[in-house]
C-alpha cells in the first residue's frame, strides 16, 4: 500500500474482492431485513488526491442523506507503477419516519496506477443500470478525463475554481462536451456559487425604470475572494452573453462591445477570504446596480439606483458548502446549455488576464 494512503480504510466499509462486488452487495442487503435500498441515480466522486479520501467519504454521507443514489468513491492514482485495484462496499442509512431504514449503497474503489480504461472497466461496470450517472470530478482535468470516461457520464460536476490552468482545462472541457460520443451536462460549482448574485442582479432590473437603463452599463466591477477569479470571470461572461456583448479584440484588457455601440469595461478586485463572490457593481450614466454579500453574512444586499430612483432590499444568500451545492443541483434534475455557451467567451477573457 502506498504511503499516500495513510488513513484508516475501514471507514469505507467492508473490503470485497473486485470480482465479487455485486454478489457482496446482494449479501449486504439480503442480510438486513429491515432496510430499504433506495436509488435514483449513480453519483460518483472522482479524485486523484489521496488526502481527500476521508473528506470525500464524509461528503458522500452528506449527499446521500439528501439524494438516494448508488454512491461511488473513486480514488485514482495514475502515477502508480503496476495497476492494482481494491473495492469496498457500505450501506449509508438515514432516518425515515424515525428509523434508520432507508439506505443508499456506497462503493469505493482505489485504483493504483489507474487510468481511464480502469475507471471505465472496473468502476462503471458496477453502476446501477438504467439510472443516470453523475460524476463529480475533483481538481484539474487530468489525462484520465478522456473519451472512455466522459462518454459514460450524464452529468459532470467540476469546480473550475480549483483548476491550476483554467485556459487549458476549459479547452479540454469544451472539446469533451462537443465530442460525438459525449452527452453530459456540466455543473460547475464555481458557477453555481454565483447563483445568488445572478438572481439578485436580475432582481435589480425587475424594476422597469432600472431595466430601461440596463443598455447604458459602461462598467462591471466584481469583488471575489482570493483564488476565486474564475468565478468572477464566469459571472462577467454570463452578463456579457445575456446582454449580447462581444469581446473587444482591440483592447489589451477585458472590454466588451455592446450591440448598440459603446463599450463596457470589466474590473476584478480581490477581496477578503470568505464567500467566493462578494460584490458586483454595474455602473453607467444615471445607473448603479450593486449586489453585495459581506463575507460572513448569509444575506445579500441588493441596491439599484437610477437617478433619483433607488430600490434596496436584503435577500437570503445560497449555501456555499460543497455538499449543499451538489445536492441542490442533483435535486434540480437537468441543467441548461447556458454555461457551455459562455465557455468560448470565458476562454477569450482568460487569455487577457
Amino acid at each position: 500500500m502506498p504511503a499516500t494512503l495513510d488513513i484508516d480504510l475501514s471507514i469505507l466499509g467492508q473490503e470485497v474482492p473486485l470480482g465479487r462486488v455485486d454478489r457482496e452487495l446482494k449479501k449486504l442487503w439480503d442480510s438486513d431485513e429491515a432496510k430499504t435500498r433506495s436509488s435514483l441515480m449513480n453519483f460518483a466522486i472522482y479524485s486523484e488526491n489521496a488526502a481527500d479520501l476521508e473528506r470525500n467519504n464524509k461528503l458522500l454521507e452528506e449527499i446521500t442523506s439528501e439524494v438516494a443514489c448508488r454512491a461511488m468513491l473513486i480514488l485514482c492514482q495514475p502515477d502508480g507503477a503496476e495497476p492494482k485495484a481494491r473495492a469496498w462496499i457500505n450501506a449509508l442509512c438515514r432516518p425515515y419516519q424515525g428509523k434508520q431504514i432507508v439506505c443508499s449503497e456506497q462503493l469505493s474503489f482505489y485504483l493504483e496506477g489507474g487510468n481511464a480504461a480502469q475507471v471505465q472497466n472496473i468502476v462503471f461496470a458496477h453502476l446501477d443500470s438504467d439510472l443516470p450517472l453523475a460524476v463529480w470530478w475533483q481538481g484539474d482535468l487530468t489525462s484520465n478525463f478522456e473519451e472512455r470516461f466522459y462518454s459514460e457520464i450524464d452529468r459532470l460536476f467540476i469546480d473550475s475554481a480549483q483548476w491550476h490552468n483554467p485556459t487549458a482545462e476549459f479547452e479540454m472541457l469544451e472539446n469533451a462536451y462537443s465530442s460525438d460520443t459525449s452527452n453530459f451536462e456540466v455543473h460547475d460549482l464555481s458557477w453555481t456559487r454565483s447563483h445568488f448574485l445572478r438572481a439578485a442582479l436580475a432582481g435589480c432590473f425587475q424594476d422597469a425604470v432600472a431595466l430601461k437603463k440596463l443598455p447604458l452599463v459602461e462598467q462591471i466591477e466584481i469583488t471575489h475572494a482570493p483564488g476565486q477569479r474564475v468565478a468572477a470571470l464566469l459571472l462577467a461572461a454570463w452578463i456579457a452573453v445575456r446582454l449580447g456583448y462581444d469581446m473587444d479584440d482591440t483592447a489589451k484588457e477585458i472590454r466588451f462591445t455592446k450591440p448598440n455601440g459603446g463599450t463596457v469595461n470589466l474590473a476584478l478586485h480581490e477581496g477578503v477570504p470568505g464567500c467566493s463572490l462578494q460584490q458586483l457593481v454595474l455602473t453607467g450614466p444615471e445607473l448603479r446596480a450593486e449586489v453585495r454579500r459581506d463575507p460572513a453574512s448569509v444575506f445579500v444586499r441588493v441596491c439599484a439606483s437610477c437617478g433619483d430612483h433607488e430600490n434596496t432590499e436584503m435577500l437570503p444568500a445560497d449555501a456555499e458548502s460543497e455538499a449543499e451545492l451538489i445536492t441542490s443541483q442533483l435535486s434540480r434534475a437537468h441543467g441548461t446549455s447556458l454555461y457551455i455557451e459562455m465557455v468560448p467567451m470565458l476562454r477569450e477573457m482568460l487569455a487577457k488576464v
Binding site: K26, L40, Q118, N121, L131
Partner: protein
C-alpha cells in the same frame, strides 16, 4: 439416463449437480440410474468420488453427504470407445440388468455431452445396438448438447443422423438459456399481462437490445474449441436467437411444444437476410479483444490466448442489427451483442419504448432524454425492471427516471432451479417446448451462414475490429447504433 462424455466438464459442473438437486427436491423418478459412458478406465467408486467433489463445488443446494450417499448409489460408470460396437452391446446388457434388478423395464434417456464430432458414431452405434427403441411401452429419447452443427450443412447432416435413430418427438436439442426462469417468463410477461401485449409492436416499441456479456476469456483451455467456432456460432445462432424469438414471436394458439415452436420458427424465417459483404458490413460488427484488464486483473489479447491461433480470424465479439420483417415488427431494429472479456457477466434483454409526444412538457426542459425501458435480466440476478419517468418530490416540476424492480431471488422467497434441472425434467416428462426443433436450428444456421460466408469467403470481407479486454466492445459497435440515433444500454 446415459451420459456420453461423462468425464467432461458439462457432466461435472451441470448435469450431475442438476440431477442431485432434482433428487433432493424429490422430483427424480424412483429407481433412477445414471450411467456415465466414457473412454477412460475407472471403477464406479472413483467416478462417484470425482462427481462428489464437483457436486460439492457446483450444486445449487448445499451438498449433503448423506443425501449424496443415497443419490450416488444410482451412479455407474461404463467404459467404452464411442465407436466400439461391443461397448454399446455391453451397455445394453448393463441397462437390461438394471431392469431385472428393479423388476420392470425403464425409460431410457441418452444425453450427448461429448464433442459433436462423435454424434455420428454414437447415433450409429445406439441404432446398431437397438438402444434407440424403448423396451415394451417404454420410451428412448436423446438429448443433444450444443453445438448442433457448425453450419447449415453439418446441422442438416446431424439432423439426418439423429432422425435415422430417433423420432423427432424423441429428440431434444438443448439450449440451456431456455431453461432459465426469466426466459420462460418472457411468454408469461407478454401474454398473461394485458399491460404489455397491446404495446408490443412497432407502433410503441422503438428498438430492442439483447446483450450477452461475459467477463471471461479462454480460461481452462476453451480456446481450442472457441477458435473453431466464434461468438456468432457459439452464442448467436442458438442462445441469442432463442431469446430473440421469445421476444418477437406471435402468441401461440396453445402452450404445446409444437405450437410454441411454430411461432418461434416464424420469427427466424422472418429475419431480413444479410447477404453479401456490403450488407453484412453495414449491419454486423465482429471483433477480437486485445490486451487489457477485467476486474483489475490483466488479460492477454485473444490471439495470445492458450490454444488460439496467433493469426486467428475468429471473432470473440459480435454485434448485429437485425430486422424481423413481420407486420408487428416492421422498422424496429433488434440489436444483439455478445462478447468475451467485457467488464461484467450479464445477459439481458431491453425493450425500449418510443417517447411519448410530451405535449404538456413541451416548453419545459425538465424532461430527461430517456424512454420507458423494460429490462428482462436473464442472468445473473434473474428478474425484470421497468424504467419510468416520475416527478421529483418538491415544488418545481422536475422529472427523473426511476426503476421498478422485480427480483426472482427475493420475490418468491426461494431460489430458482438451475436451467439444467428444468430441462432434464422436461426431457424425462416428454415436454419439448423448451428445446429447439429441427427446422428452427436449420433456419438459424441458414441465416448465420450468410454472415460467415461474407466474413470468410468474400474477396472484400468486412473488417475485424478490436477492443481492449475489459471494455464494452469496439467503437464500431457503438457506431452501428449511433447511426440509427441509438446507443447501447449501460448495464
Amino acid at each position: 439416463m446415459v451420459i456420453f462424455g461423462a468425464t467432461g466438464d458439462l457432466t461435472h459442473r451441470k448435469l450431475i449437480p442438476a440431477l442431485y438437486n432434482i433428487a433432493v427436491s424429490g422430483d427424480l423418478p424412483p429407481q433412477f440410474k445414471v450411467v456415465g459412458f466414457a473412454r477412460r478406465d475407472k471403477p464406479d467408486e472413483v467416478f462417484r468420488r470425482e462427481l462428489l467433489e464437483a457436486n460439492a463445488k457446483h450444486s445449487r443446494q448445499q451438498h449433503n453427504d448423506e443425501l449424496w450417499g443415497s443419490f450416488a448409489q444410482s451412479i455407474h460408470y461404463h467404459r467404452s470407445e464411442f465407436e466400439d460396437t461391443e461397448g454399446y452391446m455391453a451397455l445394453g446388457k448393463l441397462l437390461d440388468e438394471f431392469d431385472k434388478e428393479r423388476g420392470t423395464t425403464a425409460n431410457r434417456l441418452f444425453y450427448l455431452a461429448s464433442a459433436p464430432e462423435y454424434f455420428d458414431q454414437i447415433m450409429k452405434q445406439l441404432r446398431a445396438a437397438g438402444l434407440n427403441k424403448g423396451v415394451g411401452d417404454r420410451w428412448a429419447r436423446v438429448v443433444c448438447e450444443k453445438p448442433f452443427g457448425k453450419d447449415l450443412k453439418t446441422a442438416r447432416h446431424l439432423n439426418e443422423v439423429v432422425s435415422q435413430t430417433f423420432h423427432e418427438k424423441d429428440t431434444y436439442r438443448i439450449d440451456h438459456y431456455l431453461g432459465k426462469e426469466t426466459a420462460q417468463n418472457i411468454m408469461v410477461l407478454r401474454f398473461a399481462n394485458s399491460l404489455f401485449e397491446p404495446n408490443w409492436n412497432s407502433r410503441y416499441i422503438d428498438h430492442v437490445q439483447i446483450t450477452c456479456a461475459e467477463n471471461l476469456g479462454m480460461e481452462g483451455g476453451r480456446g481450442g474449441y472457441y477458435d473453431t467456432a466464434g461468438a456468432l456460432r457459439d452464442m448467436v445462432q442458438n442462445h441469442l436467437f432463442q431469446l430473440l424469438t421469445l421476444v418477437a414471436m406471435e402468441p401461440p394458439t396453445d402452450l404445446s411444444a409444437d405450437s410454441v415452436r411454430d411461432e418461434k420458427v416464424k420469427v427466424i424465417r422472418a429475419l431480413r437476410p444479410l447477404i453479401g459483404s456490403e450488407a453484412v458490413g453495414q449491419s454486423v460488427v465482429r471483433a477480437q479483444y486485445t490486451a487489457g484488464s477485467v476486474d483489475g486483473v490483466s488479460r492477454v489479447g485473444y490471439r495470445q490466448e492458450d490454444r488460439v491461433n496467433p493469426e486467428s480470424k475468429t471473432e470473440c465479439y459480435v454485434a448485429l442489427r437485425l430486422f424481423v420483417d413481420t407486420w408487428r415488427w416492421q422498422g424496429v431494429p433488434f440489436y444483439i451483442r455478445v462478447g468475451k472479456q467485457l467488464p461484467k457477466k450479464a445477459t439481458e434483454i431491453s425493450v425500449h419504448f418510443k417517447k411519448p409526444p410530451q405535449v404538456p412538457f413541451a416548453t419545459s426542459k425538465m424532461i430527461p432524454d430517456s424512454e420507458n425501458t423494460l429490462i428482462i435480466r436473464i442472468q445473473p440476478d434473474e428478474g425484470i425492471s421497468l424504467r419510468i419517468l416520475c416527478k421529483q418530490p418538491g415544488q418545481a416540476l422536475f422529472v427523473q427516471p426511476v426503476k421498478m424492480d422485480f427480483h426472482y431471488s427475493n420475490s418468491f422467497g426461494k431460489a430458482s432451479p438451475e436451467a439444467y434441472e428444468r430441462l432434464l425434467l422436461d426431457a424425462m416428462a416428454g415436454d419439448a417446448t423448451l428445446f429447439a426443433r429441427r427446422d428452427e436450428v436449420e433456419h438459424a444456421w441458414k441465416f448465420i451462414d450468410e454472415i460467415e460466408k461474407a466474413w470468410h469467403e468474400s474477396p472484400t470481407p468486412p473488417a475485424m475490429c478490436e477492443y481492449p479486454a475489459g471494455s464494452w466492445g469496439p467503437k464500431e459497435a457503438d457506431e452501428l447504433l449511433r447511426q440509427d440515433g441509438h446507443e447501447w444500454r449501460r448495464l
